[in-house]
Symmetry: C2
Subunit: 144 residues, 2 copies
């Protein structure tokens, strides 16, 4: 998670983008939460600081921050994009009832990536590992 403003600015400049208060606000909001919010949630949070901000700016900004490697986009079954300030590749657990998404400190064994590369003639660059199930709140017979 990149919090140094100089570094954020540098990363944007590489791509020809400027660091504006809107962009910083979006990134700060995203970095301030462990959840994986969608664009609208970020919009509502940013509005508290910059009331006249528009949803279009949020979308544009998220795309730019992603391009600059400052966040990662996740697409789930809801056909709604969620964003994550953690750009390290990691697994997720998704609640199929309420949509909650948690990180999972788990990485795919290198062996499996090699196996995948051998099994296809695609040039593999990345992967995604997701688990689906019910979160504690949605679990019908939880013991807690």
């Amino acid at each position: 998670m990149i919090t140094d403003q100089e570094e954020i600015s540098r990363r944007l400049n590489i791509k020809g983008y400027r660091l504006t208060k809107q962009r910083l606000a979006v990134l700060k909001v995203l970095q301030s939460t462990k959840s994986h919010p969608d664009a609208n949630w970020i919009y509502e949070k940013v509005r508290k600081e910059i009331p006249q901000v528009s949803l279009g700016t949020i979308y544009r900004t998220l795309g730019i921050l992603k391009e600059a490697g400052l966040l990662r986009e996740l697409n789930y079954a809801s056909s709604l994009s969620h964003y994550d300030a953690n750009t390290e590749n990691h697994a997720h657990v998704v609640c199929t009832n309420c949509g909650r998404i948690d990180d999972l400190p788990l990485s795919l064994p290198h062996k499996l990536e090699v196996q995948a590369s051998k099994a296809t003639d695609f040039l593999i660059a990345d992967h995604r590992l997701e688990f689906y199930g019910l979160c504690p709140h949605c679990c019908p017979s939880s013991a807690d």
Copy 2:
């Protein structure tokens, strides 16, 4: 892949659905291809057999067939749903350039599923493993 019409009918009936020629046509089209087509592609194919079919029926049917366990829905970054007649859990490779999706005869080691279950308090029921990269056609310096 379930091809026996009796069995297809039985699976639909369990959920209170009937087997119609539109539903059979959608399933047949999906079973006839190794690709993972989207609703519109299926629509175009089904139209050749049933010209007056509507796109709404395709969507409705795909949802019902999924509910009956006759197909699986995949959601990718394109925010477009793709469908797969293979209901076995398996990995996919997705071309980040042209969107082509291939099967990968690879399954997650059971050990990893156990590891995931221990790392979270979610009740895990399913998982998805996807690799991203470039397919042979989109690979800039392919040796073939």
